[in-house]
Symmetry: C2
Subunit: 411 residues, 2 copies
């Protein structure tokens, strides 16, 4: 065993369970949409907990909350840690909020042990990471990192026409401070994996060294709607049969792109969509993810080939790239500290790539950043059934603590 400092596992678990009551659903998850009453409950509680632990809480103009544990050297750039407290509708109890509350637990542990760090540690709760109420996702960390303008973000509306600005005022979280990046020594986001790898491999900690690039396409396949009883097979221009070939081609593209390849058709609308009519058109999405730009380019080229093949069916094809998000590498120094910390705890680890977007992906544009993943059951997330074990929660928070102690004591 090692002599590393450990967090209080039962306090962390209790804190997580208490927070899961804010927006709790009958199905055992939460609906805590950004800037909702449930989000306000959670924010108020988080601020109260931070203040009880002696940390000042500042709120910026996008509602991002920054709770500071001062270090010995206010002249040095602080270390940031955090994630988000908002959830998907019928979402899980750990996505986002685990990273915030594990950060709080780390700060509480430092208090308990009377540990002074050289640098300030800033615990952050980013507004509207999910994008479920206000599109796009990672809105407020995006403003902070200069990806979106403040006015763009404040004007984004939910489906009832309520803007981010209005919602912030309504729940009392429209702060004064500008939502603008400040110098950071390092930034860490601890998160559940939301995928099945760590659990399947029995590994404590994922050291996230990169995030996948994403390319999203809108595809329209046009054939000709015809009577299913009177139209012989050889005279049909069945858009759904073309779509079926496309789906299998996309799957093949994903499998050929290696372990980190992702290729998904998630949505399709069939027209006219009647039992006894040969489908005349299909509108669908295709998305590719991969950590290497070169591979993404190849996947896109293979998609074009697959679409070309469909023309043999006398189908008309339209393809539009609607989203192109480049792959990113997290900071090598931030990664090294995580690996050292995991090692010091005697835990198992593996490097991995984030397939999902996270606030850390934007912060990485303006400050040295990396992420830590912990396992979650069967990779289930964005779902009321999202689960983690108390041991997994404890392990991740211990890794975060050890990592922060390394980063915050560098002069």
């Amino acid at each position: 065993m090692t002599t590393a400092v450990r967090i209080d596992a039962s306090r962390l678990w209790q804190t997580l369970q208490t927070f899961a009551t804010f927006g709790a659903t009958p199905g055992g998850g939460v609906t805590r949409l950004a800037l909702s009453e449930e989000d306000k409950q959670g924010r108020d509680t988080l601020r109260a907990w931070a203040q009880q632990a002696g940390f000042h809480c500042e709120v910026d103009e996008l509602g991002n909350m920054f709770m500071r544990r001062p270090g010995l050297r206010p002249d040095l750039a602080p270390v940031m840690v955090g994630s988000h407290a908002d959830s998907q509708p019928l979402g899980g109890n750990y996505d986002g909020i685990y990273g915030v509350l594990a950060g709080l637990e780390v700060l509480r542990t430092l208090n308990d042990r009377h540990i002074q760090t050289e640098r300030d540690i800033l615990l952050v709760n980013w507004t509207n990471e999910e994008g479920a109420r206000f599109a796009p996702a990672m809105l407020a960390s995006g403003v902070w990192a200069g990806v979106f303008s403040r006015d763009y973000a404040l004007g984004r509306q939910d489906r009832h026409g309520i803007s981010v600005g209005e919602a912030l005022h309504h729940i009392g979280y429209a702060g004064e401070r500008a939502a603008r990046a400040q110098p950071l020594h390092a930034c860490y986001e601890l998160h559940i994996e939301q995928g099945p790898i760590l659990e399947a491999e029995g590994i404590n900690a994922g050291v996230v060294h990169a995030a996948m690039g994403q390319r999203w396409f809108d595809i329209t396949i046009e054939g000709f709607a015809a009577h299913a009883g009177t139209t012989p097979m050889n005279l049909r221009r069945d858009a759904l049969c073309g779509f079926a070939e496309l789906v299998l081609a996309v799957e093949k593209i994903g499998k050929q792109a290696g372990d980190d390849g992702r290729a998904t058709v998630g949505m399709a609308q069939i027209t006219p969509g009647s039992r006894n009519v040969v489908p005349g058109a299909v509108f669908c999405s295709v998305e590719f993810r991969h950590p290497e730009l070169q591979v993404l380019n190849e996947m896109e080229a293979q998609l074009a080939q697959a679409l070309d093949t469909l023309r043999q069916r006398n189908l008309r094809l339209l393809s539009e790239k609607i989203f192109d998000y480049p792959p990113l590498n997290f900071d090598a120094g931030c990664i090294r500290r995580i690996e050292k910390a995991v090692h010091s705890l005697g835990y198992t680890q593996r490097r991995m790539v984030s397939g999902a977007g996270h606030d850390a992906c934007y912060i990485n544009r303006v400050a040295p950043t990396a992420m830590i993943f912990i396992p979650c059951v069967k990779g289930i997330s964005h779902n009321e059934e999202e689960r983690i074990s108390p041991q997994w929660a404890e392990g991740g928070a211990n890794v975060l603590l050890a990592t922060l102690l390394l980063a915050a004591n560098e002069s």
Copy 2:
């Protein structure tokens, strides 16, 4: 050239165009739903035309209209001819009504030529063939043929909760006469093909000797919804990829079943249907049609095999047969008269199978019946773009006239 009697082509075309004003749509088609105000306009006009030509019009309790041209021998069973005047929403100008108005033109021609037949000729307009307003299709001919009960049919409701019985009273077509089969010597239904074969082969008349059997299935494919970014390809249980394999398997089943094979997936619902979620479930329809029971059995067995194959993807499959309508053969004597009539006119003909359901399919259960098809442009039907040429309309009516003269003069 032959000396066969011919109908008045320009009067027929004018009659068709006038009738197409009842429920005319901006797109050049009609919306003349069963028992609607537009249907009433059409019915009133049809009855007026029939009465002007000296034919008595009787209406039964299902609103079926019977217009009689008496023959010399009222003791002999009559010959029936007709189809339906209702349309699909945004339907075409010829589906159904062509068979009614060509029948009227035949009776008018017999008047003009002072031709007496031995047997009465009954022109019929069946209520609610399309099933678009009141499910199921062929409702009133079904009652007449004993397939459905009178009370079942009168109680069928449209999506506003209005029953067939109420709608009949509302437009004044709830007749006294029982909707019950009477002895017929022969029954003919003339209809547009609603498929592309006759036009493609340049043939005047399709002699419909059979109607396909139909088997409809509800299929549910269950996998597991997962994050499209974090779930590796080899750990997915993608219901949509399984569905894609099923669609291509169904297409192959149809192609292997020969020229008369039909296999269609027309409808699918994908859950959750989000761009960045691996689909967890797909609900879809599969339908097969073929004129031979044995082949339908083989198609069904091949479907079961295709579903079995999907289990290799670790998908759960549910299949339910929701509709099983056996193939039918039309009456050999009725068919022979058509072939003789076409030959006498010097027209081209081919035997064919109806892939769609028609009122004649039910009448065939209680009386000797057959159908005549004429070409329609590109096989387009149930569509405002449904078109036929005046020459095709004329040819079909001439065939009907010659056929009826044969049938109605048999003693």
